[in-house]
Symmetry: C2
Subunit: 202 residues, 2 copies
């Protein structure tokens, strides 16, 4: 069936959303126009405002419309520990897990020389400048456990160590609550290589 | 973690989309702001335009920015057959199945007296007016096979029959390609009640 041009355009635009294909986009477009115009207006207004107002935190570079995000502005957070992640979503996952009380630095993704994405594009120069300016006792590299994430972690580690900063990498191993049977070989190898001696009462 | 107010608002607004909960909305908001601002601008522009321009076809009441939709404006479609559905999405499903060459009438949902939705709210008066004005040989009721859809079909059928229109209801039975084992009892009863004698060569 031929949708009218404006509806077709809307369906195509909605496919910019992550995980949304033509079928879901069509369902969304019809739903918004037929049943929830108020909701559609809210999306237009809040998305337009966010696009014009939301930028990056001056310190950690996460998304925020403020100069400094709520974590960087929180005096109770430990300034001397810096956790480096690839995206605001990763920072969010760590925050939701609880337990971490330090600061963050959010890269704009990972190194990908094939796509022309080098250290400057993801903000490594800014990170290194911060390491030189503030007293960071430990930098925790929490980039993704992918080939690109590992390469990015390795690259940053070398630069930071040269500056005299203590650098750590989050542990790789079997996920908590999973079953060993379903864990992939690479993870198992990491889990064995990273094994720790147990003491009494553990 | 505390998102900044504008990002929070955006995440809440995106939950107006059908099938999108807090987690997916959060993922969408971060993706649009961090990785696809061009796409976000397209969504804002096309949704705003659609909201202001898209209304209903004057004849079948489907969504379109034109006075008459492409089906109503198509001289090759059979004007004397009218298929009544509950939403533009239902019309689309029938069009994608192919085979139907008549016109449509799109109700604004189904009768739901508890929610104060009576015949006028879903456009039954407009449908009956059309039946009196144009020569409809057959009206096919293709409302959903739900309690409300059946009640709506029954109500419309009574009014249309009183106007001397031939009214049919789409068949209820076992879905093509499914396995009998997994078909619910109500559908099986309908399938038995609606059984047809087979001839040679069928």
């Amino acid at each position: 069936m031929a949708f009218s041009p404006l509806i077709k355009q809307l369906i195509e635009a909605l496919q910019c959303l992550p995980g949304i294909g033509p079928k879901s986009a069509q369902r969304m477009a019809l739903h918004l126009l037929e049943r929830d115009r108020k909701g559609a207006e809210r999306i237009v207004a809040s998305l337009a405002t966010a696009l014009s107002e939301v930028g990056h935190c001056r310190s950690c570079r996460t998304l925020t419309e403020l100069d400094y995000c709520s974590i960087c502005a929180d005096p109770k957070r430990e300034k001397s520990i810096l956790c480096v992640v690839e995206s605001p979503a990763d920072m969010l996952a760590i925050e939701q897990a609880g337990g971490y009380r330090g600061h963050y630095f959010i890269l704009q993704g990972h190194l990908s020389p094939i796509d022309g994405i080098g250290p400057e594009e993801i903000g490594v120069d800014d990170l290194l400048a911060q390491l030189q300016q503030r007293a960071v006792e430990e930098m925790i590299l929490a980039t993704n456990p992918t080939v690109e994430g590992e390469a990015t972690a390795h690259f940053i580690a070398q630069q930071a160590i040269a500056l005299g900063v203590k650098v750590t990498r989050i542990a790789h191993g079997v996920p908590v609550g999973g079953e060993l049977e379903y864990v992939d070989g690479g993870t198992l190898l990491h889990a064995f290589a990273g094994r720790k001696q147990m003491g009494l009462g553990e």
